[in-house]
Symmetry: C3
């Protein structure tokens, strides 16, 4: 986008109702209205375009952004750091092991103690079913209360960097990728997307990506097909949301039990491993009990169960059955690539390789998605603010 | 404070003699004059008010602030990060395990090597009696020498983020809290404050908070009463300082051996656990010798000794005996709350809960106290500089 | 330098051909032309002088700099942080253990995933012979490809923070130190520098410093003498480079087998321990095989071999044999000092102590060297840009 196009996009953004996002968190995509989701995608594109035009979007002279990672992360960690830096915030990571949190401090107390000068808190907490989202809500309540009671001079915005239920920074990036590949949000209508389980010799992968995908993509009038072996079902409440969304958007949501059926004539395929729901639940219980032997046994059993479905692989053969053999392959990365990162995995190496660049592009939207989530929470009139940035044209790099 | 009030406060700050703080460290409150302590508290309030008025106090375009944590920390870690960020400095943590320090490098060398472009060094070193403050002095000497010898283009300012003797960023925040609760520094005169030992099922808590409190609060004409069981005495040199201060300020300093006596008619109570001095000394020796068995035995013995004083708990009953039953309860957090974070602890849950918000406020001053310490060390005419910031009115957030 | 002198230096910088550095990495000094090396040294001095004159060199409003340390580091870690901060970039460290890298992600993928908004990547990877430089090249290829394919909006610049072959940020700082001590780059001609192995009771020190020194110092018409016991030879390809360089520069490069011979009439001595090449190669193999027993045996054997050369120590006696007994003693720090950090080490305590300040100065150039490397890669017309900074005179500290 050149500056004229950016201006046009800002003008269209100004038409959207984003009042609900101001001073609000981003935890689940289905908590957001159509306008809010659309505005987030659009703001992300505008921030990206500003940067490409070397226009600084540093809106904070000072301010902290705090990240809390309860699980490993590369992409999301660097995306969050990039997003915050793009707006002028400095990152401070809360390492719970180096802090008093390990000493039994309550969530409420910690949330307030780290937030006195904090603008944003990003949290990844995706390991335990029933915990991640609950924890984020607890943090949100704590800082809301703290702000109301005058403890915090501002209420930090929470951004869900992956919980047990949803992974909105991922799925919104995925959506932006689809919009750019297919040429517009309206072009997604009627497209078939296959969210399919795939085999991986690993254990305990979160359910939040497939859940987030069916929860978001059903909003665009797409035909969303979920495929997984018996025992790998997703949370019932998310399935309901997908069903409801598809009804409202004029698309469909269906579940099948064979990968091939899901891939048939699909425009987009998203084959990805996740853990069986029941295993994740049992794991949470065992972890809470500190039952190491039980966990080892569970892991062994889970890997055994996985092995029964080693044929759930995104092969060239399967890809041929998609729309004109040319479905867009997607993955949130890193993928388990057969013969590369493991013996048998989620995807055949040649398929992965053919879609390497699109996948990297897909990942590349995440910093801007996160920056947009923060931006829309911090500025009451985001379109006006973006317009100011564009017109003042302070360079990002002083070339 | 609105801008007119800020200006008035700056004008009053200009009357104080703060020459001794310029290019100087902040290690112990009793090394600072009355004017210097008052100026620090006032500068903290001005910086807080500037931020509330969305005035940027970014005085550094670039510059590093280094933190060295030899003990766990949440509050102080984030307070230091917030303070440095508020002034425009970027945090870089020295993780001694990932550095050559682990290879036997001397303090002198490390201090210089990390300071070439460094404006501030914040250190927490509170575990070993006889070591923390000594270490900070060694770092201070090293960077002074380095600066004199032309190795360092500037001398970084040291801020004591808790040592074995004092915890000035905590106690100064406590003082600011008292000033705000009681309506002015002059209102503290004649108030009775009880710094009391309290039971905790933990081991090895530093003595620096009670020491810092009696060393600072005796300067305001308060009646400072220190209470602890036999064997939990503080460092003799700090007791002397408290005695001397109270004489000069027209207050009093006394020691009692029962919690109830300290609480009687108190305006403020600060019940908090700490380790017996002799145990801390023995612990230092055993740690230096690497005597693991000895340490385990000592910990066991210490916890046994602690248990003899399980009745040293801040109860509702005791609170009733304070001035009109309404003394201000203070804690540096996290507290050991009976029935919440432990079975029996420092404070009854209902007392803690009633004072939760005041305590959070108490903690919330710390970022500004630290920023004030840095500010007064970096600017020869701090009032002029603050006035400039106020008049130029660069916004912190570009709203 | 005052501002007039800075301007003069900028004018002379403008005469140098640095086109090859624009959008390029800094991996090995011998990949750079004479003009490029000279321009880096000069830019470092200009950036240092700007800071001394309180002129901000913040050229980035926002942007990330990523550091990857596969080995311990203090000096280089803080130098890199300082350099990036000086230009306005925020540091984000890639901790490979906390990232998906540990999950078998490829270098190509990780390199792209961390680079979407990244301006610089600094890498220390010096442990395995045959790996560090190769890894850096792989990262460089990955981000080049990513940029070409439109994945990355900019290509991040790579800075070698020490590999298995070279340690350019160290040796360039060393060169700047020599230039300042001897009064100009042209004064180095004809000077004798002894790069000598020295005994240390440690194991596995990289070869990159001695290799970097002979690869760089042979470019200035110096008489470079390399001394080491049998079995401690350097990589043959670097010896060839040194030989070639010395021929071109009108200096000499020779190898001797006694420390005393190298020190004889030397103007500069650089006594430093390193591991035997063959041990490093075997170590790489054993590490890759995960052969712990083999590694322990190798370490033991290596330390035994080292002990045969305990007399390779930089003593006062040896120093007397240098030019007028006053050769400049250099070390990249930390040094193994006899009787201080170890029983017998690389250098006698009194020698080290006499040269403590010069050594600290030597280390102090590194932040500016790194900043210069980044600067020259990011600005097509660096002299113009520096001139702008000088003339606009935005203060670094708003005093």
């Amino acid at each position: 986008m050149d500056k004229a196009e950016i201006l046009k996009s800002i003008e269209s953004l100004a038409q959207k109702n984003v009042n609900g996002m101001y001073l609000n968190d981003f935890l689940l995509t289905w908590d957001k209205s159509e306008d809010e989701i659309a505005a987030t995608l659009q703001t992300a594109e505008i921030l990206r375009a500003l940067r490409q035009n070397n226009v600084s979007s540093r809106v904070f002279e000072t301010g902290l952004a705090i990240s809390i990672f309860r699980d490993q992360s590369t992409r999301t960690r660097f995306s969050f750091a990039s997003a915050c830096n793009l707006l002028g915030l400095a990152i401070q990571e809360l390492d719970e092991e180096k802090s008093q949190v390990a000493h039994g401090e309550t969530v409420r107390e910690t949330a307030n103690m780290i937030s006195f000068l904090t603008e944003v808190i990003g949290i990844r907490d995706d390991i335990y079913i029933g915990e991640g989202h609950t924890h984020m809500q607890e943090v949100a309540r704590a800082v809301s209360q703290g702000h109301q009671e005058g403890v915090l001079p501002q209420r930090p915005t929470l951004v869900n960097l992956q919980c047990d239920i949803d992974h909105p920074t991922q799925t919104m990036s995925d959506a932006l990728h689809l919009i750019n590949v297919f040429g517009g949000i309206e072009k997604l209508k009627g497209k078939k997307i296959a969210m399919a389980w795939a085999y991986s010799p690993s254990y305990g992968k979160p359910l939040s990506v497939p859940q987030g995908i069916i929860g978001l993509m059903t909003r665009y009038g797409m035909d969303v097909v979920l495929a997984h072996p018996d025992g790998y079902s997703l949370m019932p409440e998310v399935l309901e949301i997908a069903q409801k969304n598809s009804g409202q958007s004029g698309g469909s949501f269906s579940q099948v039990t064979r990968m091939a059926e899901a891939f048939e004539d699909a425009d987009i395929v998203y084959p990805k491993s996740w853990a069986p729901f029941s295993v994740m639940q049992e794991r949470t219980r065992l972890l809470q009990d500190g039952d190491r032997k039980g966990l080892q046994a569970l892991e062994k059993r889970c890997l055994e169960i996985n092995k029964n479905h080693i044929d759930w692989e995104c092969t060239e053969m399967l890809m041929k059955s998609t729309r004109q053999g040319q479905a867009l392959y997607m993955h949130c990365l890193p993928a388990d690539i057969s013969g590369v990162s493991c013996q048998s995995g989620e995807v055949e190496a040649s398929v992965f390789e053919r879609y390497r660049i699109p996948q990297y592009n897909q990942a590349g939207y995440k910093p801007y998605i996160i920056a947009a989530m923060i931006f829309l929470s911090k500025f009451e009139k985001p379109a006006e603010k973006l317009s100011e940035l564009l017109h003042n044209t302070k360079p990002r790099v002083h070339k």
